[in-house]
Symmetry: C2
Subunit: 221 residues, 2 copies
């Protein structure tokens, strides 16, 4: 797959949605699709779809459209879903459990190799993803042996500073972040992708106030 530098985040953030939608189409038995039809189904413009895809290469056939399975595979390669970055989950409460099940069953690109917590009540119990919750005291030992490259943070704010420092010390430079850890901004060389429940919820609260009746306000899907 051709790859170029300097793709904008706007484009990158749309790629997973294309991937999802094409997977859906493929499962439905659609083998071929034009940018026009895809745009109508997804609520975008055909122009945008063609522009987005052509950041990475020409995957279509003029006069014909795109072959669904091929395009899906190309986008999977662009996203790097064929990789198996080793990941650990910190915090094995409900959120950690939900995310780990997700990591295990729903996505490619990562391999979940460990779950940690400091709560004696759940250390040693097994999880939805078939891993035993390990005492976070053994984090160093575990990471030195297994060398994960990504950490999922499902921990309370108070625990973050110390834990991030330890993970950083262990060479982890990529974080998937489920809380408001401005702490991570202090490290210049880490990659962070955040999922902020409270920001999303506050945004929804705003939208409800703006559209008290039920005026349409569809967002990204």
């Amino acid at each position: 797959m051709p790859r170029r530098d300097g793709i904008s985040m706007s484009v990158i953030r749309r790629m997973p949605r294309y991937y999802r939608y094409l997977s859906h189409l493929e499962q439905t038995g659609v083998t071929r699709i034009s940018s026009k039809e895809l745009s109508e189904r997804m609520g975008l413009t055909a122009s945008q779809i063609r522009q987005d895809l052509n950041c990475f290469g020409g995957f279509g056939q003029q006069g014909y459209g795109y072959i669904v399975s091929e395009l899906r595979k190309e986008i999977g390669n662009i996203l790097g879903l064929q990789n198996t970055h080793k990941a650990v989950v910190l915090g094995s409460g409900h959120l950690g459990q939900a995310v780990s099940a997700y990591l295990k069953f729903e996505t490619k690109g990562f391999q979940l190799i460990g779950m940690f917590d400091n709560n004696p009540a759940i250390i040693g119990t097994s999880t939805l993803c078939d891993l035993i919750v390990t005492d976070v005291a053994q984090l160093e030992e575990f990471c030195q042996q297994h060398k994960p490259t990504m950490a999922v943070l499902c921990i309370p704010l108070q625990a973050a500073a110390e834990l991030v420092e330890r993970l950083y010390g262990l060479g982890i430079r990529t974080f998937w972040n489920f809380s408001h850890f401005d702490i991570l901004r202090q490290y210049p060389d880490v990659t962070v992708e955040s999922v902020h429940l409270s920001d999303s919820l506050m945004t929804l609260c705003y939208l409800m106030n703006e559209n008290p009746g039920s005026a349409a306000k569809p967002l990204r899907f």
Copy 2:
């Protein structure tokens, strides 16, 4: 608080972060801040902060800056956090539990009044947010009585079509969505805010490939 129409989503999505950061500052004992200092701390430009805030009104004092507590309160009002939109959570697995705890303890703007599931093993059990999980068979009865206006979808894809139809029939027009329910696009008058774990994870996968060593690529916090 002055309010105007046609605020762009780019601006709206930044407001919760301002709110969070100002809360943090207030707790830290900071009483006054200039757009310049805030911008340095948050990693934005001072210009953008002033532009954003002035979409809603002039909350600062020339030559002085902004009073932290006042500005925080204003943004809270803009977001509508003083409201208590009644909400129900559909699906009481780990994700539903995590989100409901969040709704209960971490945010304003909503009041969680019910949790539902179809799994007999958890119906009747109590949750972190002190609600008993109700059989989803009783959804109609419950909603007609309590009239929630927002529903949180923490359910598997297969269950979505039927459940959304039922919720829509019960007058619910706002959804907080944790899965890929393109189904919701079929309703022209609903407001949907989505949190997509897999999109976020695929984006992170892409970023890891682009920055295999550890090149800095900080995103929003």
